[in-house]
C-alpha cells in the first residue's frame, strides 16, 4: 500500500508539474482531482470541527447554538430560487460580524499598533539613554520613520503631489518599490522552497536517488 501511495503521489505531482510544458490532459485530470478533493476536504473538516464540534456536541447545554444552526440552514435556501432571498439573513450576519470584528481588530493592529511601532527614538537605542545607539540602529530607525511617513504621504491623494509634498511622496514611492521588490523576492523564494520540497520527494521518496 505504501508503494502504491508513493506512486500515486508521484503521478499527481508530475501531473501538476507537466503544466510547465503546456496545458495538457494529464494536468487537467490532476487539477480536477485537486478541485474535488479540496472542496470535499474543507466540507468534511468544517462539518466535524464547526457543525459537530461546536453545535452538535454542545447543543443541549447551550440552546443558543440552535440560532446559529437555523441561520446556517437558511443559508442553504439559496439553492431554492423561489425563497432564495432568505439566505440574505445569515449572509448579513456574516457580513455584520466580520465588519464589527475587523473594524476593531484592524483599527488596533493595522493602525494604532503600527503607528506606535513607528514612533521610534532616532538617536538612541532606548529612550532616555542619550546618543548611545550604533550607526545601524540610527539609520534603521530613520528609515522606518521617514519611510512610513513618506509612504503614507504618497497614498494621500486629496492634495496634489507638488512641491515639498510631492518630493515626500516621491520618497514614499521609492520606499514602496523597495517593499514590493523585497516582498516579491521573499515570495519567489518561498515558492522555490516548496518546489525543491516536491523535487526532493520525487528524487528521494519516490525514486530513492537521494539517500
Amino acid at each position: 500500500m505504501e508503494h502504491f501511495a508513493l506512486w500515486l503521489a508521484a503521478f499527481l505531482t508530475l501531473g501538476i508539474i507537466s503544466f510547465l510544458y503546456k496545458d495538457n490532459a494529464w494536468y487537467k485530470l490532476t487539477e480536477s482531482i485537486f478541485i474535488g478533493l479540496s472542496a470535499g476536504y474543507w466540507m468534511v473538516s468544517l462539518f466535524w470541527d464547526n457543525f459537530y464540534g461546536k453545535f452538535w456536541v454542545n447543543k443541549s447545554e447551550s440552546p443558543y447554538l440552535y440560532v446559529g444552526a437555523v441561520l446556517g440552514l437558511l443559508m442553504l435556501l439559496r439553492l431554492v430560487p423561489r425563497i432564495g432571498w432568505i439566505s440574505r439573513w445569515p449572509l448579513s450576519f456574516i457580513v455584520g460580524a466580520t465588519s464589527g470584528l475587523w473594524l476593531i481588530n484592524y483599527f488596533s493592529s493595522n493602525i494604532m499598533k503600527q503607528i506606535e511601532a513607528t514612533i521610534l527614538p532616532l538617536f538612541s537605542a532606548q529612550f532616555g539613554s542619550g546618543f548611545d545607539a550604533g550607526a545601524a540602529a540610527i539609520i534603521g530607525n530613520l528609515v522606518i520613520v521617514t519611510g512610513t511617513f513618506s509612504g503614507l504621504v504618497y497614498f494621500f491623494f486629496s492634495k496634489e503631489h507638488k512641491g515639498a509634498f510631492g518630493r515626500t511622496a516621491k520618497l514614499g514611492i521609492w520606499i514602496i518599490m523597495i517593499t514590493f521588490g523585497a516582498s516579491f523576492g521573499y515570495t519567489v523564494m518561498s515558492r522555490m522552497s516548496l518546489f525543491i520540497g516536491r523535487i526532493d520527494f520525487l528524487l528521494s521518496d519516490w525514486l530513492g536517488m537521494i539517500l
Binding site: A9, T13, I16, I17, K28, L29, G36, L37, G40, Y41, M43, V44, F47, W48, N50, Y52, G53, K54, Y64, V67, G68, G72, M75, R78, R88, P90, L91, S92, F93, G96, A97, S99, G100, W102, L103, N110, I111, T118, G140, V143, G147, T148, Y154, I175, I176, M177, I178, T179, G181, S183, F184, G185, Y186, V188, M189, R191, L194, F195, R198, F201
Partner: protein, 216 residues
C-alpha cells in the same frame, strides 16, 4: 422585509461586536461568544453551499455532455470519495492511519504543494517583464528583490564571503526586510487599516448595501 431585515441584522451584529470590545462584561461578553459560535456554524453550512454549487455545475456539465465533461466527472468522483470517507470515519477523521489521512497525505498534500510550487515559475516569468530597469523606481524594485533572493540562499554568502560579516548578502537581505521593507509595509498596512475601518463603518451603518444584492 427582504432588504430591511438583512440591514438590521448587519447593524445589530456589527455594533454588538464593537460594543463587546469596549465593554467586555456580561451581557456583552456573552454576546461575543454567541456570535462567534454562530459564525462558525454558519461557516460550516456556507462551505456545504459552495460544495453543493460545485456539484450542481459539474453534474449539469456531465449530463449535457459539454466540452471537457470528463474532467467534471473526475471532480464529482474525487469530491464524493473524500466526503464519504470523511463522514464514515467520524469526528476522528484526521487521526493518522485513517483512510481520510491517507487521502490527505498522498493525494491532497502533493497536489496542493505542487500547485503552489509551480507558481514560482509564473512569478519568475512575470518578473522578467516587470524587472526591466526602465526607470529609477523599477531599478529599486530589482535591487531589493535581488538582495532578498540572493540573501536567502547559501550562494549569496559564498559570493560575499570576503566582506565583513555585517555586509554579507544574508545580513543585507535581513536589513532590507527589517527596515525599508518594514517601513513600506507599515504605510501600506495603515492605509489598508483605514480603508477597512471606513468600509466596515459604512456596512454597519447601512450605507454600503452591496452584500444584500439587488432587487426586492
Amino acid at each position: 422585509m427582504r432588504r430591511e431585515i438583512p440591514l438590521l441584522i448587519t447593524g445589530i451584529v456589527g455594533v454588538g461586536f464593537v460594543i463587546q470590545y469596549f465593554i467586555p462584561h456580561a451581557p456583552f461578553s456573552y454576546m461575543s461568544d454567541w456570535f462567534s459560535d454562530w459564525f462558525s456554524i454558519i461557516g460550516a453550512c456556507a462551505i456545504v453551499l459552495g460544495a453543493l454549487n460545485l456539484m450542481k455545475i459539474s453534474i449539469q456539465k456531465v449530463i449535457s455532455r459539454k466540452k471537457d465533461w470528463g474532467y467534471a466527472a473526475v471532480i464529482i468522483a474525487s469530491f464524493l470519495l473524500i466526503v464519504i470517507i470523511g463522514m464514515v470515519e467520524g469526528k476522528d477523521f484526521r487521526v493518522p492511519g485513517t483512510n481520510f489521512d491517507w487521502l490527505y497525505r498522498y493525494m491532497y498534500i502533493p497536489l496542493s504543494a505542487t500547485m503552489f510550487a509551480i507558481l514560482a515559475f509564473f512569478v519568475a516569468s512575470a518578473s522578467y517583464r516587470a524587472f526591466r530597469a526602465r526607470n529609477f523606481e523599477a531599478t529599486l524594485l530589482l535591487i531589493a528583490a535581488f538582495f532578498v533572493m540572493m540573501g536567502r540562499v547559501p550562494v549569496g554568502d559564498i559570493i560575499t564571503g570576503f566582506m565583513p560579516e555585517g555586509w554579507r548578502l544574508s545580513n543585507l537581505a535581513s536589513w532590507v526586510m527589517n527596515y525599508p521593507q518594514a517601513a513600506g509595509q507599515r504605510a501600506i498596512m495603515i492605509g489598508i487599516g483605514l480603508g477597512i475601518v471606513s468600509t466596515s463603518l459604512r456596512v454597519i451603518l447601512g450605507i454600503e448595501r452591496s452584500h444584500i444584492g439587488g432587487g426586492e
